[in-house]
């Protein structure tokens, strides 16, 4: 299968870029980032707060089927240009990781296609590598959680 999402993470650097081309007009791509109920669907997390404006803040939270919080993150929006750009911070609650800075650029390619360019800056190169490896390490836990959710729905 074609890999639509590209990660560029140069060795020894403290940043990375995530690039993806969508079969969507840029307006719809941007909407998916600012409407809480849409964010919830594709990010798989609950949106507690999402203030789409300069100096606004956001807060996401994910609970397991027993109601325990398994993921909580928050940040501040530093720049908000509708349909073009969001600059924000991202910080996980109760995790030994420093805050990261994210530049999200939304680009129109054609009337029906668009590109997202996400530039993420971490405090250190070590921290970046640690964050890169998280899905690898927690992959098995996430698989368990998803399985649990499916099983609970069957009950």
């Amino acid at each position: 299968m074609e890999k639509k999402t590209k990660i560029d993470a140069e060795n020894g650097k403290q940043d990375l870029t995530i690039t993806r081309v969508f079969d969507l007009p840029v307006e719809l791509l941007f909407k998916a980032y600012i409407e809480p109920e849409i964010v919830e669907q594709w990010m798989g997390t609950k949106v507690l707060k999402l203030e789409n404006k300069k100096h606004g803040s956001w807060q996401f939270e994910t609970k397991d089927p027993h109601g325990n919080v398994v993921f909580k993150a928050n940040g501040t929006i530093h720049e908000f240009i509708p349909g073009q750009k969001i600059t924000r911070t991202f910080e996980m609650d109760n995790a030994p990781f420093d805050v990261q800075l994210e530049f999200l650029e939304f680009e129109k390619l054609t009337d029906d296609t668009s590109r997202l360019n996400m530039h993420v800056v971490y405090r250190t190169p070590e921290l970046r590598d640690q964050m890169l490896k998280l899905p690898f390490e927690y992959g098995i836990n996430m698989a368990h959680n998803r399985l649990q959710e499916v099983l609970n729905k069957l009950k």
Binding site: I7, F22, L24, L28, L29, W42, M131, L132, I140
Partner: protein, 106 residues
């Protein structure tokens, strides 16, 4: 999935990484591998066992000796430790695209 995580744990250990580098140059027996380390022989054996279980190393009988080889295919998977991170975003973005395509249709 479980196997993949174990592979990551396997390469997180510096001695095991050194063993992989050593065996990558040529296939060798447990005795020869152990002679390259100050670590006690049983410790090296344990490392070899873990690396074999994760399929990073392959055992091959040659006469009375067992030689350890690098499993190149498996090493290629591991070298790309970014892949699960990329796959996570790909998964999210695919969902985003599906959701918004339906949204457009409404």
């Amino acid at each position: 999935m479980n196997l993949r995580r174990d592979v990551f744990q396997a390469i997180a250990d510096p001695t095991r990484r050194a063993i992989l580098l050593l065996v990558a140059t040529q296939a060798m027996t447990a005795g020869v591998i152990a002679s390259n380390f100050d670590t006690a022989r049983p410790t090296v054996s344990k490392h070899l066992q873990i690396l074999t279980e994760c399929e990073l190393l392959k055992q091959e009988q040659n006469g009375r000796e067992i030689y350890y080889h690098i499993n190149a295919e498996r090493m290629k998977d591991v070298a790309d430790f970014i892949e699960p991170f990329r796959a996570m975003w790909e998964d999210r973005f695919n969902k985003l695209e599906d959701i918004m395509k339906n949204y457009k249709g409404k």
